[in-house]
């Protein structure tokens, strides 16, 4: 205790040295904290980007579009495919679709889509169309399941003479005996639907669709089993590839599986790039902090070799001297660490953006550069106490090793050699 007290007392007596060395330790400590915070922000940003990535796979009968009355493309997915797909790990949601076609005029045709009333109403395979937006009436409600109701696109509504004004009384008749070059007739009775809403999609073909409850579709088209499409939503972009692999193992024999290209691209480029950059930068920041702290402590001990020699000459034991210098090193590194944390709290946000721009941004995909740069201003509050504590413990240990190594180098010498040591 006596030597520890001596070390701490010695440290506090030389405020200039204390300030310089604590500052030298604080700087890499600050950089490490800033890079840890930037890494955390980058990962958070990645998670946010993942939410926007399409993780939906589409399944349809092998070699078929699955339109129940389309010439040459009417084969459906087997009915048990739904249960098989739902049983696959990491699958968040499965949405079954049934599709049929109806001639409109000339060479055009509209699409009839049967969906579960709570599921998304996607516009048939045309990326140009937006999501349906109800412009008159209402969307489906749970009570519509199995009912003779429909939600019609504004183009198809115009063809059928349905307007927002007559929506309450208008009826739509599905006539499956009508034909077209690619549509074969189905000997099914005409069926009348009550149209509950009109939607707009922003695209002409998207507006030529009619959604109805899937049970209603089965009744109208006489399709008791099977599905045209299954939309499979995966819980995370990271699991899309594995779910696709398991889908191929499970239903690949009967289904074509269309995987989202964006998910694959995100996984193969963005996620990997972010992982690589954050790991490298995090590692370099830790190494920088360890190297700087180690050598600062080593140098501060070795430049006091003469003092160590004197202490030995007047009766100080090697162990006692080592203890004194270790106490100084630990106190200095704690002080440097606290100073670094203070700097981080005060300047972390201001410096993080520049650090990010100089170090990580050139190696990250474009979607990180501007949006993330703007969000880095508020990172200083982002580090968990456990991270701060861990970094401080590492700094203290490295300081102790650096100081201990320096003391060992000098104390193993005779007092005279120590005093001459450089």
């Amino acid at each position: 205790m006596r030597m520890i007290a001596l070390g701490v007392r010695n440290l506090l007596r030389n405020r200039l040295r204390l300030g310089v060395v604590a500052g030298l330790i604080a700087l890499p400590f600050f950089l490490l904290l800033a890079f840890q915070a930037i890494n955390a922000a980058v990962r958070q940003h990645t998670e946010a980007l993942k939410q926007g990535v399409d993780t939906r796979l589409q399944l349809r009968a092998k070699g078929s579009m699955g339109h129940v009355n389309m010439v040459g493309s009417s084969r459906l997915l087997p009915h048990d495919a739904l249960a098989k797909v739902r049983g696959i790990e990491d699958v968040a949601k499965v949405e079954p679709y049934l599709l049929g076609m109806s001639p409109t005029e000339g060479h055009n045709f509209a699409m009839h889509v049967g969906v579960n009333v709570g599921d998304a109403k996607r516009l048939e395979s045309h990326g140009e169309a937006g999501h349906p937006r109800i412009i008159a009436g209402r969307d489906f409600v749970p009570e519509d399941a199995g009912q003779d109701v429909g939600l019609i696109g504004q183009g198809y509504a115009r063809w059928a003479g349905i307007t927002p004004e007559n929506l309450g009384t208008a009826r739509f008749v599905v006539d499956l005996t009508r034909t077209h070059a690619v549509i074969f007739p189905l000997a099914r009775p005409k069926h009348e639907l009550k149209i509950v809403g009109i939607y707009a999609s922003g695209y002409v073909f998207g507006d030529l669709q009619l959604f109805m409850p899937i049970e209603t579709f089965r009744r109208i088209y006489g399709v008791d089993t099977g599905f045209s499409w299954l939309f499979v939503t995966v819980d995370s972009v990271d699991n899309v590839a594995s779910v696709e692999r398991r889908l191929r193992e499970s239903v690949g024999g009967v289904a074509d599986i269309i995987a989202p290209k964006a998910a694959a691209a995100f996984t193969s480029t963005t996620t990997r790039a972010v992982d690589r950059v954050t790991v490298v930068v995090g590692f370099l920041a830790v190494v920088l902090m360890m190297v700087v702290v180690f050598f600062v402590m080593l140098v501060t001990v070795r430049e006091r070799a003469r003092e160590i020699g004197t202490l030995k000459a007047i009766g100080g034991s090697d162990g006692g001297i080592a203890l004194q210098f270790l106490a100084e090193a630990v106190a200095l590194s704690i002080l440097g660490g606290v100073l670094g944390m203070g700097l981080f709290r005060a300047l972390g946000g201001a410096v993080a953006g520049r650090l990010f721009a100089l170090s990580m941004a050139p190696f990250l995909p474009a979607q990180y550069k501007d949006t993330l740069f703007d969000s880095l201003g508020g990172i200083s509050a982002g580090l968990a106490p456990s991270t701060l504590g861990l970094v401080l413990v590492v700094a203290v240990l490295v300081a102790a090793v650096g100081s201990g190594y320096g003391v060992w180098q000098v104390t193993r010498l005779s007092p005279v050699e120590a005093m001459r040591h450089e």
Binding site: R2, N14, E307, T310, G315, D318, V416, M419
Partner: protein, 227 residues
């Protein structure tokens, strides 16, 4: 009646060390016997081995050959821990460049050897104050070395050397960095110290050497004359 035990006894003491491809013979077969109390001065030209001799006697360095016996203790072969204890209790060292700990006050510098010797706080404080009083620095207790003149620093160093009441004081060119007036004060202090214990001083300063009870002339690693 048995003969009194000498404070310092050297038998065929040699210290050789390499310098490049050559071997420097700093001390070569030195024999010496010093009885206490009193002051002995070692004089000789630069490089004659004076400081090396002092370092061997003070267990500050190990000899290449020969025997070093101080206050009845044979230093050869003593483990590091025993040598530390020897430096703490048996010798007090006064350096040419004072070698005070810069961050500690005069009082703390003097108490330091007693802290190493685990002397209680009250006792070491009292003893340190008395010693600093004796060297005329009772009014400078809280001053740090940087706030003291060279002569004052050397007086603190003498007080520190006396802290654990050792039988032998070794002084290596104690006035080498001082002006004449300060040097004179140090001579007188060392002479006073030598009344109760043995002081072995290495010096170039003729006046200090003349104050010694015995003058040993060293040249090329060996004694050539004793006065």
């Amino acid at each position: 009646m048995s003969e009194a035990r000498p404070v310092v006894e050297l038998n065929a003491l040699s210290k050789h060390y390499p310098r490049g491809s050559e071997v420097v013979r700093a001390l070569d077969g030195v024999d010496l016997r010093i009885d206490g109390p009193g002051m002995a001065a070692i004089v000789g030209p630069s490089g004659s081995g004076k400081s090396t001799l002092l370092h061997m006697i003070g267990a500050m360095d190990r000899p290449t050959r020969g025997e070093v016996i101080v206050a009845g203790q044979i230093l050869n072969g003593l483990p590091a821990k025993a040598l530390t204890h020897f430096r703490r209790r048996t010798v007090g060292f006064v350096f040419q460049t004072f070698n005070l700990i810069p961050n500690l006050s005069a009082l703390e510098n003097v108490t330091l050897p007693m802290e190493f010797a685990k002397v209680g706080r009250a006792e070491r404080d009292g003893r340190a104050r008395r010693l600093l009083d004796q060297v005329g620095l009772g009014h400078r207790l809280t001053h740090r070395p940087g706030e003291l003149s060279g002569g004052e620093q050397q007086r603190v160093a003498i007080a520190r050397a006396l802290a654990n009441d050792p039988p032998l004081i070794l002084a290596d060119e104690p006035t080498g960095n001082l002006d004449t007036e300060s040097g004179q004060t140090i001579y007188e202090l060392l002479k006073a110290v030598a009344r109760e214990r043995t002081v072995l001083v290495v010096t170039h300063a003729e006046p200090l050497a003349r104050m010694a009870d015995r003058i040993l002339h060293l040249k090329d690693g060996g004694f050539v004359r004793t006065e």
